[in-house]
């Protein structure tokens, strides 16, 4: 589904990603872990087409497309979704308006007619229920005056409504208490299928107790230093990131 080859990217002229290689197949959940400033969020933003991040080298292939040729909206229409670390507030635009517009733009791109109001409402109710969101929350302005937990839940509602092929979750666990974390995880798990894939970016292992990954990658200083199964996350929880940084130093001195 997704193949990243030797990806280099920078922000305002400062190199952040320094040669990422990663392959994700459908049905898989990949977790990217790493200390602050390692480039985790940059990777998620580059994949969704944020123009504040410049790709300076490397390739990204997604479902046979050269992803770097696609605008953010075209990536979304092709099935890429980014759950933001800091979801944006849009007063005066209801969640329903945003979602209906987005769904119809995606459907149009795929040669489909607009969703009927009845189907839309039914879907909204169904997905809202999974996340414990009632109609009131659904009809409120996008993230406007929402608590941190409500915003993250709203991101997952959008994920469930838009049904992308590739979900990028950028620190979706940050700022969540344990109850909210469980709800959000339930939402993500209900999304998982053999036809889609999840790339989640997190600082803490905690989230991975609820969303169990198939692969864990450790990102440090713009490179993936180590990849493994879910047990790698537990080792990081126990020993922190220091042992990896030491390993990196050793590698560099060789």
């Amino acid at each position: 589904m997704l193949k990243i080859v030797n990806l280099h990217a920078e922000v305002e002229g400062k190199p952040i990603l320094k040669g990422i290689n990663l392959e994700i197949n459908k049905g898989e959940v990949h977790a990217i872990m790493g200390p602050n400033g390692s480039g985790k969020s940059t990777l998620a933003n580059v994949l969704s087409g944020n123009e504040n991040y410049q790709v300076t080298e490397g390739e990204i292939w997604y479902e046979g497309h050269n992803m770097l040729d696609l605008s953010p909206e075209d990536r979304a229409r092709e099935g890429v979704f980014l759950a933001f670390q800091y979801p944006v507030e849009i007063p005066g635009i209801s969640n329903a308006t945003l979602l209906k517009t987005a769904i119809n733009e995606i459907r149009k791109h795929n040669g489909m007619d607009d969703i009927s109001p009845k189907d839309f409402l039914a879907k909204m109710r169904e997905k809202g229920q999974i996340l414990g969101m009632n109609d009131l929350l659904i009809n409120r302005s996008v993230n406007s005056g929402f608590s941190g937990g409500e915003k993250k839940r709203n991101e997952i509602l959008q994920l469930l409504m838009l049904e992308p092929k590739l979900a990028l979750l950028d620190e979706t666990d940050s700022g969540l208490d344990i109850d909210a974390l469980k709800i959000v995880s339930t939402g993500v798990n209900s999304f998982r299928s053999s036809e889609n894939a999840v790339l989640l970016v997190t600082h803490y292992q905690r989230l991975l107790n609820y969303i169990v990954p198939d692969f864990v990658h450790v990102l440090s200083n713009g490179k993936i230093l180590k990849s493994g199964g879910k047990e790698l996350a537990l080792k990081l929880e126990d020993q922190g990131y220091d042992w990896i940084n030491k390993a990196e130093l050793e590698t560099e001195s060789v």
Partner: protein, 448 residues
């Protein structure tokens, strides 16, 4: 002998139109407003058209208006219009008293006033002059000075316009919806409604005044609205300016507030080539509340100038002002918000905010808060921001599959949200949004 300047030539033209205009009045000539007309004419003679050298007009060049000699509506053939045209311009889906003016002159066929509480006089000024001359004499031109040549010309041509008199203690529940249709396909017309609203103590009313264009011919709307609020009277006044693209719109609204009155004015501007709004209120009694909201949307080469003046003349009053501008293409906006707190106006609480978003690199806004405070125990806050649409928000929407153009419309709606949300007639909120998007839609077509 030196030749006349454009200003002088225009002044001469409009002065030359006064006699034919008066001739045309017949039985309306020697009524109780005669002396106001005479005063207006005197002022016309004394004043000149404003220029960029006048502090109050330094950002608004009116010379495009002076390129044309506009003919007073009364001296032109009547512009035909019909129910269908009227329906096109009205806000819908709620009950209202409908009053239609064509080029500033009342059209009874197209109006339907409906039932009013006893004692309430509503309709047109020309009728009020005959039915209630004592009210007209007491209130007309009493708290509005003719600040400039345009105002004086309106006074000199006082004839018709909207008139409302609500006696003490009466409440008019249904809003008045005034539709001023302007423009004439065969002549460049001058439309000069004179509106007078008098609300007695503890009375209330709601008014929507829409100024809309007919056709693409140039015309000039030159409006004066005078509002008098008795003690604890409450008025919501919505002014919608959607004149046609070749039109000019000069408006002055002057309110006078007695003790405990609440005046809420909404200025919503979309249209015209050049628009100038002066919205003024004198808070003459104690414990008044004055709310001035504004939203203005301009594109192409439009120029929209909003001047407001809140005059705190008594203690314990509150004023609250929020103006938002959305400017695209090469359009220009002006915001000048003056707040005066006079010596006796202790415990004044005045708030003012002007926010503008520029959608293009060539749009421009000149914003100027102007505070004059002569009392010492007051609270005055003001702020102005100018910016572009937020990039992170734009990316957020695009990352959901929404095109950049639609995403921008959404963010514009979000920007305008708090002003539109303050509109107290829920049915018209969405219709105002639609007007905003119609305006934007034009922009999308143009960019193709």
């Amino acid at each position: 002998m030196s030749s006349l300047t454009k200003q002088q030539e225009s002044k001469k033209w409009y002065l030359s139109k006064i006699d034919p205009f008066l001739e045309h009045l017949n039985s309306d000539k020697n009524t109780c407003v005669k002396e106001f007309r005479d005063l207006g004419l005197e002022k016309m003679n004394k004043l000149d058209f404003p220029t960029l050298k006048d502090e109050e007009w330094k950002y608004t060049n009116i010379s495009p208006i002076l390129q044309h000699n506009f003919e007073p509506a009364l001296l032109t053939a009547l512009q035909e219009t019909d129910e269908k045209e009227v329906a096109k311009h009205l806000f819908k889906d709620f009950d209202f008293h409908k009053i239609v003016f064509v080029n500033g002159v009342f059209n009874s066929d197209l109006s339907s006033l409906g039932e009013l509480p006893s004692g309430v006089a509503a309709g047109n000024l020309r009728s009020l002059i005959h039915s209630h001359p004592e009210i007209v004499k007491e209130y007309l031109n009493k708290n509005s000075d003719d600040d400039n040549f345009f105002n004086a010309m309106n006074s000199a041509c006082t004839y018709d316009g909207f008139a409302l008199y609500v006696p003490e203690g009466k409440h008019v529940e249904k809003p008045f919806q005034l539709l001023f249709l302007n423009g004439n396909s065969s002549v460049k017309v001058l439309s000069q409604p004179r509106n007078l609203l008098v609300l007695g103590g503890r009375s209330s009313a709601k008014v929507i005044a829409s100024y809309q264009g007919l056709g693409s011919n140039e015309y000039l709307s030159n409006i004066v609205t005078e509002i008098y609020l008795g003690e604890e009277a409450v008025l919501d006044f919505y002014k919608v300016q959607n004149e046609s693209v070749n039109a000019f719109h000069i408006n002055k609204t002057q309110a006078f507030q007695s003790r405990g009155s609440v005046f809420s004015h909404y200025s919503i501007s979309f249209g015209s080539k050049i628009a100038r709004n002066d919205i003024n209120s004198v808070l003459k009694g104690t414990n008044c509340e004055c709310n001035l909201y504004g939203i203005y949307l301009s594109n192409e080469q439009q120029h929209i100038d909003n001047h407001t003046f809140v005059d705190h003349a008594s203690p314990n009053c509150v004023s609250n002002e929020l103006y938002k501008g959305i400017l695209d293409d090469e359009s220009r906006g002006v915001f000048n918000g003056k707040i005066m707190v006079r010596k006796d106006a202790q415990k004044t609480n005045a708030y003012q905010s002007n926010k503008s978003v520029l959608l293009s690199g060539t749009a421009r806004i000149d914003t100027k808060p102007q505070l004059e405070i002569y009392a010492d125990d007051v609270r005055c806050t003001h702020g102005a921001t100018i910016g572009q649409l937020d990039e992170t928000s734009l990316f957020y929407l695009r990352s959901r599959g929404i095109s950049s153009e639609i995403a921008k419309s959404m963010l514009i709606r979000a920007f305008a949200f708090d002003v539109i949300d303050s509109v107290k007639i829920p049915e018209i909120r969405e219709q105002i949004h639609t007007l905003i998007f119609e305006h934007l839609h034009r922009e999308i077509i143009k960019n193709d």
